[in-house]
Every structure is written in structure tokens, then in C-alpha cells.
């Protein structure tokens, strides 16, 4: 870390007593009371969104019956999870998550570097295209990959047999490899989205200095680029690894037939496939996992503590890209290959299938537009779309504002309690969605009668904000880590007010991260089912609920139509963000 000479927060506190902190801090320099009230309010909001539902779940793990039923406090839940079998399943789960996180991170870093730091052709278009798989409901890509890579009649294996003349399949999606591959389809674009703007925001002069000093491209990439990206990389790793532990669809769809068990399938079974749902077992297991995950978060804090990663400084920031010469076509080919494998193959299946009566039966007499007609004439779909758009717009905006504030206080101030709010914002990410959904149900339903949240659209909105906050905070944290404190101080020295400083420096410079976080949160809301199914009320159905109903009734083709529409929406959103909003904000 010796290469970084920008000042850290500690330096500011120690060496610049006259400034006494940064713009945000000084805004309240008239007294600590407003700050105290602000912090308390923030802690209360986060406590309500995260600690309260988790507290209900903790009660569930320590009580023989769920909230509202007579029972007794005991540790039976925790005792029941202490089995050799669970230890094996846990090891299996951690192994699968590592096996998908590490290659995903490597590929995502490479893709982010290609798109943000090189002169690879068509990288603007590629940036939108390679992120598409993340936005498709996992059940659809699972179905598509089931058709492509099942060992018996999968398209890939049929082609392989035809070409090789053999009888053995080339790939089998119902295997460890299949589970990991399907998870990678989501983690690579997620990680890419998470990191690409951090790569873009980096001052290229640091890399150029390294090259000038004789370091090779690879050494520069390894010792400068990657090291500067440490906060973003560790955050990305944590988010992806923890999500990997909690991933459910891939393991259920591809793992179950192969006898592969993970923690979440065990939790799912304890809630959904026992005579009486065993919430004590499910919550105890979830808290045990959460405890392990917390250790990782603490490790990340320890790694990053006291180090500075500022790459956006007041010294003149020249967005620049590395000229790869003929190699740019190699990087281009890599992106195209990734796009073909992760988007064209599965989405092609979905698109093709949506025009036929049944997936996989592509004959002339099966051609139909009936699935599109059914979706467009389904009033429930339109109502759900409307609800979801409202919830998505409000939810994503509120989540990002909350995330930006938490990240700001956590990274750019030395206020007491900043670690507490940062930790609180992490918590929802560490609880499997299906369990956290139950926590929200218990929490909101058990509120005193006069608080009208349960049974209203507010319950969904609050749950979405809680669920989205961890990503929002991580995205903004990565971005704020990169901004030098000089920028704020410069702005203030030149007479800008606190709001002007916030707007022109922090908002304008952190905008790309905010926008990416917003898109991630928005589409997270569009896909969220675990909490939605337990909190929606008559008339407030969301798109995920409608998709679940259609899927449960065997209307996979209609689900695909909706999935394709969601993807189209992503393309429009990303295009607007990249081509229009970013350009305008950068002029602020």
C-alpha cells in the first residue's frame, strides 16, 4: 500500500485541526446536537429495517414456537443443527460458493478492466450486453440450461454427438459443475456491474507512472490496478460469496437430481416440506450461518482499516484507456464469447420458445403468438407491473439515498456510531431470503394495531429497502473510498456551500456508482419473491408473485415472455443511464 500518497481520514483528523473533518461534518459544526439527532434517526431507521425483523427471527430460533404461539424458550433449535450431516452440507455449500465466487471475480475483474480501461472496440455496447443474464429470473435460465445441457437430449450434447460420433455427453448440467455454472451466470454480471465504475473512476496516471518506471502491463495491472481496487474487490468478494452460500434456485434445480445438498435447500425443506414448518430449526441454522459470515465481514474491515484507496483526486483526472493494439480484438473476442455463452445461448432458447406452443418443440405447426397475447391481456400482469414499477422506483431511490448516507458517514466521517450503522446495513445480506421474508412477516404483522404497515404496499416497500440496503451501501462505499478528501476541502475553500459541495463533488463524482446501485436495487425488487409472497395483499401483487403463479401453473412460455420484457427494460434503463444521464451529471 506504500504507493498511495493521498491523505487518509486519519491524516485529516490528525494533521488538519483547522478544518476539523470534512464538508459534511462542518455543515453541522454549529453544534453536535443536530448531528446526534441525525445519527439517532438513522440508527432508528436501520434498526427498524434490519434489527427488528432479525430480532423476531432470533426469537423464533430461541423459542419452541414462532411468535404469537404459546411455548417456551430453549436452545433446541441450535442443538438440532449441530449434526455431522449439517457440517458436511455446510462444507459442501462453502465449497460451491468459493468455486463460483473465485472464477466469477476473476472473469468480472477482467471484463471490467476490458470495458473500463482498454480501447476494446464496441465496449459501450458490450457493457450493456454482458450484464443481461443478471436481470433474467433464475428459474428461466435454469430451464434454458436444462434444455441446452441435459445429458440425454440437451442441444449441446446432441450437437457434440453428431460431431464426434460418440454416445457420451459432453456436458451435464445436473452436476456440481452445472450448479456452479448457473450461479456464475448471475455473479459475473453482478460483480462486473459492481466493479466497472470503480475501474473507470481510477486516475490512469498511477498506472502510467508504473509503466514509466518499467513495470510490465501485467505487473502494473497486478500491483497498481488491482491493489487500488482492494475495497471494491473485497466488498465484491464478500457480497458474492455470502450470496453464494444463500443461493437456492441453482442448487434446487440442478443439484437435487444429482444428490447435491446445500444449506438453503435444507432450510427450504424445513419450512416447506415438513408436516409442520420447523421455524426454530430454519432460523437457528440461518443465524449460525450469519455468525460465520460476520466473521468474514470483520476480516474485511480489518483488511481495509487505516488504508487509503483514493484514486479520484483534485490533481486533474484524465479519463484514459490503455491502447492494446491488435490485442484489443482478443479482448473483444473474449467479451463476445462471454456474451454468446451467457446470453445468446440461454436467452435465445427463451426467445425462440416464446413463439412456440411449447419450449423445445420447434415445428411449424407449433408456432404461435398466444403466449404474448395471454400476457398482454392478463389484467393481473398489468396491475402487478404497475405495482412493481412504483415499488421499484420508490424503493430503489429510497434505498440508494439511505445507502449513500450510510456509506458516506461510514467512510468519510469519524462520527461515533458509524461502524454500527455500517454493520446494521450488512445484516440483511447475511440472512437467506426465504428466512428473512418470514422475519418481515412476523415483524410487520406483530406491530401494534394503529401502525398501518402490514397488509399495505408499505410493508413491501420497507422490506425492499431493507433487502437492498447492503448492496446500496457497498456500491457507494466503494465509490466514496476512491474520492480524495482534497476535493471536498477544495470546494469549501473556494467558497462553495455544503450543499454545493455535496452536489458537485460527491453526487457528481459518485453518480455512476449511485446509478449502478439503483439499477441493481430496482431489478432486485422486480425479482424479489421470498418477502413479497408473505407480505403482498390483495391488489398489491408484484411481478415476481405473478411470475411464480404462472410458473406454478406450468406457463413457462408466458414467464419467458415477461422475462424477455424485463430484459428489454434493462437495456433501455442502462442505455438511458450510460448514454444520457451520466453525460449530463458529469457536466455538473
Amino acid at each position: 500500500m506504500t504507493i498511495i500518497h493521498n491523505r487518509s481520514l486519519d491524516d485529516i483528523a490528525e494533521n488538519t485541526p483547522t478544518l476539523r473533518g470534512n464538508a459534511f461534518t462542518r455543515a453541522f459544526s454549529g453544534g453536535s446536537l443536530p448531528r446526534l439527532i441525525g445519527m439517532l434517526l438513522l440508527i432508528l431507521i436501520l434498526a427498524f429495517l434490519t434489527l427488528y425483523p432479525l430480532g423476531m427471527l432470533l426469537y423464533g430460533s430461541l423459542h419452541s414456537t414462532p411468535p404469537g404461539m404459546a411455548g417456551e424458550f430453549n436452545l433446541n433449535g441450535y442443538r438440532s443443527i449441530m449434526t455431522t450431516q449439517n457440517l458436511i452440507v455446510l462444507a459442501n455449500t462453502v465449497g460451491i460458493s468459493l468455486a463460483k465466487t473465485i472464477p466469477s471475480l476473476v472473469i468480472a475483474v477482467f471484463l471490467a478492466w476490458i470495458i473500463a480501461r482498454t480501447d476494446t472496440p464496441f465496449r459501450g455496447t458490450l457493457e450493456v450486453l454482458i450484464t443481461l443474464p443478471f436481470f433474467i429470473p433464475p428459474i428461466l435460465t435454469a430451464m434454458a440450461w436444462g434444455m441446452l445441457a441435459n445429458p440425454q437430449v440437451g442441444v449441446i450434447n446432441m450437437v457434440w454427438r453428431w460431431m464426434s460420433g460418440g454416445t457420451d455427453p459432453l456436458v451435464n448440467i445436473y452436476s456440481y459443475g452445472g450448479v456452479i455454472w448457473h450461479m456464475c451466470q448471475y455473479s459475473i454480471p453482478f460483480l462486473f456491474l459492481f466493479m466497472v465504475d470503480a475501474f473507470r473512476a481510477m486516475d490512469p496516471s498511477l498506472e502510467e507512472s508504473s509503466r514509466m518506471c518499467g513495470a510490465s502491463r501485467w505487473t502494473t495491472f497486478r500491483k497498481i490496478t488491482l491493489l487500488l481496487m482492494l475495497p471494491v474487490l473485497t466488498s465484491s468478494f464478500m457480497l458474492s460469496f455470502i450470496k453464494g452460500i444463500e443461493t437456492f434456485e441453482s442448487a434446487l434445480f440442478f443439484g437435487l437430481p444429482a444428490g447435491i445438498k446445500v444449506i438453503t435447500t435444507d432450510i427450504y425443506e424445513s419450512i416447506n416440506h415438513r408436516a409442520t414448518p420447523d421455524y426454530q430449526y430454519a432460523t437457528s441454522l440461518s443465524f449460525a450461518i450469519m455468525g460465520l459470515m460476520l466473521l468474514l465481514v470483520i476480516a474485511q474491515w480489518a483488511i481495509l482499516r487505516g488504508k487509503s484507496f483514493q484514486t479520484v483526486t483534485g490533481k486533474g483526472f484524465r479519463p484514459n484507456v490503455m491502447e492494446l493494439g491488435p490485442w484489443r480484438w482478443v479482448t473483444f473476442a473474449f467479451c463476445v464469447l462471454f456474451f454468446l455463452l451467457t446470453v445468446v445461448l440461454p436467452v435465445g432458447q427463451l426467445m425462440l420458445g416464446s413463439f412456440f406452443r411449447f419450449f423445445g418443440f420447434y415445428t411449424y405447426d407449433m408456432l404461435t403468438l398466444e403466449h404474448y397475447r395471454s400476457v398482454f391481456s392478463n389484467s393481473e400482469f398489468w396491475r402487478a407491473l404497475r405495482n412493481t414499477m412504483v415499488l421499484g422506483l420508490l424503493g430503489a431511490s429510497a434505498t440508494m439515498v439511505l445507502g449513500a448516507i450510510v456509506a458516506y458517514i461510514s467512510i468519510r466521517t469519524r462520527w461515533r456510531g458509524r461502524s454500527l450503522i455500517d454493520g446494521m446495513a450488512w445484516l440483511p445480506w447475511m440472512m437467506p431470503g426465504m428466512v428473512l421474508g418470514v422475519g418481515f412477516l412476523w415483524a410487520f404483522a406483530m406491530l401494534p394495531g394503529p401502525i398501518p404497515i402490514y397488509g399495505t404496499i408499505w410493508a413491501l416497500l420497507l422490506a425492499y429497502i431493507a433487502l437492498g440496503t447492503p448492496v446500496a451501501v457497498r456500491v457507494m462505499t466503494g465509490s466514496y473510498h476512491q474520492l480524495s478528501y482534497d476535493l471536498e476541502e477544495c470546494s469549501r475553500v473556494h467558497g462553495a456551500s455544503w450543499f454545493q459541495t455535496m452536489w458537485r463533488i460527491l453526487v457528481a463524482l459518485a453518480w455512476p456508482a449511485f446509478a449502478v446501485g439503483w439499477v441493481l436495487t430496482f431489478f432486485g425488487i422486480m425479482r424479489e419473491l421470498s418477502a413479497s409472497i408473505l407480505l403482498y395483499s390483495v391488489g398489491s401483487e408484484t411481478l415476481a408473485v405473478v411470475l411464480m403463479k404462472l410458473w406454478a401453473n406450468g406457463n413457462a412460455e408466458q414467464v419467458s415472455v415477461i422475462g424477455l420484457m424485463m430484459m428489454l427494460m434493462v437495456i433501455v434503463f442502462r442505455w438511458v443511464q450510460l448514454a444520457f444521464i451520466n453525460a449530463r451529471v458529469s457536466k455538473l
Binding site: 404461539m69 436444462g146 408436516a275 411449447f358 412476523w442 404483522a445 401453473n553
Partner: protein, 354 residues
């Protein structure tokens, strides 16, 4: 307040006690002939009037995504002018919602459409249901569907065997559940997971208790491939991944017309799940709820279900149906699960199907 008093009066008057008293006195009243029937009609009319005044009904259903729910709700609205608001979720989710809502004093739902097994749990563990009211149609259903648990039976969901006709020659088609143990099917059967509550477990319970453990062990030796997604599994079998998918929801046959598959009713009969309505505690629209319960057991709804292949609980509903639908709707009922033995049998299934 007037409406509320009226509702309560109507609710109380058409109680089980009154009805049974009336029924128990049938012999005496028979002497009077018509007046007894008139008295009952008058009481029921009060329920109808009160239900119409309530104007709406909140239905929770664990049968997710079925277009028939909307069709029936529309027919009910047409009949009584009462609007039906439907909330759908999977069985465990909807059960927890009801339990928590009632614990918190939020009595939002009137009626729950669920299975016989779930009803027992609602009744004995959650205590979230009211005793079943006796309604005009409730006396007309088949005796085997009059239950001890407080569920007004509506229909049965039958389960059978599905084959891929491209992979299974007509001569080889399984005709009995026992045929699944034939070694020629080894590695060729896709099965709903019998180790978890669901269709696979229903098959396991029925055949284990009726054919025996040896049979189930032989099937376990067939190297079954397990799944928990019933509809997608039908498609996978149709596409040729497996020769057989079992057990299949027989009523899905109409959705897969045009695909190379065949639905087989085993000669022993079809394992089934009995679905019906329960009246939830402190239902906000109690009279509308009773009307709905009655309506679901009446000929209009029974014919809708029979036309889809479900087993009606009212006799004579399958007349005039196409032969294939009629065969499924009238299929001999083979067996269902017993909730009181669920933990024991799940453990046994896990032991056999490791």
C-alpha cells in the same frame, strides 16, 4: 350497527346446533311436512341476505396459479353479487400468514382453500379455523368426503403416471404402480421427490401402505432421479430426458396436448389430495364465507372441476364430459396421506430413498 347485529343474528341462527336440531327432529317435523323445509329455507335466506350485505369475501388459496379460481370467483359473484378477493401463496406460506395474522389480531381472511392434511394442522395446531357450518349443499356430497376435520370438501386432485410415447412402446406401457419396479425402467424414471411433502411423498405413502415396503424398495433400486418442479418435469419428460415421470397431476393432461406424452391411470387407482374450504376464525365476512363454502359444493363449481378432470365430491357431475376427461375425473381413488403419520413416514421415505 344495524347491519352488524343482523349479521351476527344470521350467523348464529344458521349454526350447526340449529341445523342438527332441525335434522334430528326430522321425523316429528315430517308430520308437518313442508314447514320444516320452509324453516330451513328461511334460515338460509337470512344467510344469503346477510352475505349480500357484506358484499365481499377474502379468499386465501394454496392452489396457486389455477385459472379455475378466477372462473369460480366470477361465477360466485354472478350468483350472489359478492366480490371475491383472492390471495394466492404456497401452502406453508399461506398457513404462516394466517397464523401470524390471527395471533396479531388481524382477521383479514374469510375462507381458505386448502388440503385435508393442512386443515388438520390448522385445526389442531394453529387453532385458526372455526367449526364447519352445515349448508344446504354440504349434506349432498358423497359420504367419503364428509370429514372429521372442519373442511368442506370440494374436489380431489388425482395423480398417475406419465410416459413419453416416443420412448415407451405401447406394449411396454406401465399399467400398474407395480410396473414401475420393472428393472427395464432403471435410470429412466424422473420422480417427484418422495422425501419431502408433495406428490412424490403422496405416491410413497399410498403405495407403501397398500402394496408394501418391498415394492417401494424395489422402486428405490431403479435409480430414480428426483425433482421438485412438477410442471417443468412434465416438459423434461416430453422432451425425451426420461421415459417416465411419476406421479403426475392427471389434470395437466389437457395442457400438454400436442406433446408426445400419455397420461396413464394405474389399474389400482390414483393417489389423491382432497381439497376443500375452511372457515377462518373471526372471518370479517362470515355469511359471505358460508355462501362461498356452499357454492363450492354445489353443481356449478362441481361441474367446473369435473370438466377439468378433478374428482368432484358431488355425484353425477361427469355426465356429458369428453371420454378422456371423464376417465380421469372418475378415476378410482387409491389413497391419500395421513397427517398424523407424516413425520414417521417422511423418516421412512428418507431411509429408503437415501
Amino acid at each position: 350497527m344495524t347491519t352488524s347485529k343482523f349479521n351476527m343474528s344470521a350467523m348464529g341462527s344458521w349454526s350447526r346446533r340449529v341445523f342438527l336440531a332441525a335434522a334430528g327432529s326430522a321425523a316429528i317435523i315430517a308430520a308437518a311436512g313442508v314447514p320444516a323445509a320452509n324453516a330451513q329455507d328461511a334460515e338460509w335466506q337470512k344467510v344469503i341476505d346477510a352475505g349480500k350485505k357484506e358484499g365481499s369475501l377474502v379468499l386465501y388459496t394454496a392452489l396457486v396459479g389455477q385459472p379455475s379460481t378466477k372462473q369460480i370467483a366470477a361465477a360466485f359473484t354472478k350468483e350472489y353479487g359478492i366480490n371475491v378477493e383472492v390471495l394466492e401463496a404456497r401452502a406453508s406460506e399461506i398457513r404462516e400468514r394466517v397464523r401470524v395474522e390471527q395471533s396479531a389480531g388481524r382477521f383479514a381472511a374469510d375462507v381458505m382453500f386448502t388440503s385435508e392434511g393442512q386443515t388438520m394442522l390448522y385445526d389442531t395446531e394453529d387453532k385458526s379455523v372455526d367449526p364447519l357450518p352445515v349448508t344446504p349443499n354440504s349434506t349432498k356430497i358423497g359420504d367419503r368426503f364428509k370429514l372429521k376435520v372442519p373442511m368442506a370438501s370440494v374436489m380431489t386432485i388425482p395423480y398417475g403416471i406419465m410416459i413419453n410415447t416416443g420412448l415407451v412402446k405401447p406394449a411396454d406401457e406401465p399399467k400398474s404402480w407395480k410396473d414401475l419396479a420393472d428393472p427395464k425402467w432403471q435410470g429412466k424414471i424422473l420422480s417427484d421427490d418422495p422425501r419431502a411433502i408433495g406428490a412424490g411423498y403422496l405416491w410413497f405413502f399410498s403405495t407403501y401402505t397398500r402394496i408394501g415396503e418391498d415394492y417401494v424398495k424395489k422402486v428405490a433400486d431403479q435409480k430414480l432421479v428426483f425433482t421438485r418442479d412438477q410442471r417443468e418435469s412434465q416438459r423434461r419428460t416430453a422432451r425425451g430426458e426420461y421415459s417416465i415421470y411419476t406421479p403426475v397431476i392427471m389434470t395437466d393432461f389437457s395442457d400438454l396436448k400436442g406433446l408426445p406424452v400419455k397420461f396413464i391411470i394405474p389399474e389400482e387407482g390414483v393417489p389423491y389430495v382432497l381439497y376443500g374450504n375452511v372457515l377462518l376464525k373471526k372471518a370479517p365476512h362470515p355469511n359471505a364465507a358460508k355462501l362461498y363454502l356452499d357454492f363450492m359444493q354445489g353443481p356449478t363449481v362441481q361441474k367446473i372441476y369435473a370438466s377439468l378432470g378433478y374428482g368432484p365430491v358431488l355425484a353425477g357431475m361427469t355426465e356429458g364430459l369428453p371420454a378422456d376427461v371423464k376417465a380421469i375425473s372418475e378415476a378410482k381413488l387409491y389413497g391419500t396421506t395421513d397427517t398424523t403419520r407424516q413425520n414417521e413416514m417422511l423418516a421412512k421415505s428418507k431411509e429408503i430413498f437415501k
